[in-house]
């Protein structure tokens, strides 16, 4: 049981295939719900998008869900890209190099995006 939780809370990033598979599905399902929410939510912003976006992000629930969606997107896509490396990069060294590079880039994208959104939120509050 402890082993199961250890694998599960690796969020799919250890070498266990089942954990990877489950997290890919969990993130996909949650993203679908959040994408449906954001598509309908954004439809009301279309006239002056940037100004409306700044007002929209001011509502805390929008900010939290937007950040959650972005983290889910990066989590899901990083797992997907690692899967492609697994399937098509044979050399262990090259695969390890690209995996670390990919995770670093993904982390930077998450960091820059959340920092930017937080800045927009705190600037207009």
């Amino acid at each position: 049981m402890v082993n199961f939780f250890k694998k599960f809370f690796s969020f799919g990033f250890n070498k266990d295939g089942l954990s990877h598979w489950i997290w890919q599905r969990i993130s996909a399902f949650l993203m679908m719900l959040l994408f449906i929410w954001i598509i309908f939510s954004f439809q009301e912003l279309s006239i002056n998008f940037i100004t409306d976006f700044n007002t929209w992000i001011k509502i805390p629930i929008n900010l939290i869900l937007f950040i959650a969606l972005f983290i889910l997107i990066m989590h899901h896509s990083t797992l997907g890209m690692l899967n492609i490396f697994d399937d098509y990069v044979q050399s262990k060294k090259i695969k390890k190099f690209f995996s670390i590079l990919l995770k670093t880039i993904s982390f930077l994208i998450i960091f820059i995006s959340i920092f930017s959104v937080w800045h927009i939120y705190s600037e207009i509050i």
Binding site: M32, N54, G80, I84, D87, I112, S113, S116, V117, H119
Partner: protein, 123 residues
């Protein structure tokens, strides 16, 4: 000679082109496009928060023909990946596995992707 490298998945050119293989390959390909497009979203958020000049450059780019083509590929990839992902989730629950349904749902996804993108870009 000792070789510790694990075997690879079959390379793409080995598959006979058919709806099942094309849709599977497209799912991965659109996934790569969507991963790359997160760079743009991040850059766009950064420009709104910190750099107005960058925002103007990005706005001009997205209003140009090249920008519109890029956005078209992103919306197309998103729609396709979303719908085909839903199909994958349904498979994971054990439904729709027989060959007739696999072809039918594949065909529905192609039609829906095209319809949604025509609606987004032309209406």
């Amino acid at each position: 000679m000792k070789n510790n490298d694990r075997p690879l998945s079959p390379h793409l050119q080995i598959y006979k082109p058919q709806i099942t293989s094309i849709l599977s390959i497209s799912h991965r390909f659109t996934g790569i496009i969507l991963y790359l497009s997160t760079f743009l979203i991040s850059l766009w958020l950064f420009s709104i928060a910190f750099n107005n000049n960058l925002k103007i450059i990005l706005d001009n780019f997205f209003y140009s023909n090249l920008g519109k083509i890029l956005l078209f590929f992103i919306t197309f990839s998103f729609t396709y990946h979303f719908l085909n992902g839903l199909r994958h989730l349904i498979w994971d629950f054990g439904y729709g596995f027989n060959i007739k349904n696999v072809y039918l749902t594949g065909f529905i996804i192609i039609i829906l992707t095209l319809t949604i993108n025509i609606y987004i870009w032309f209406f």
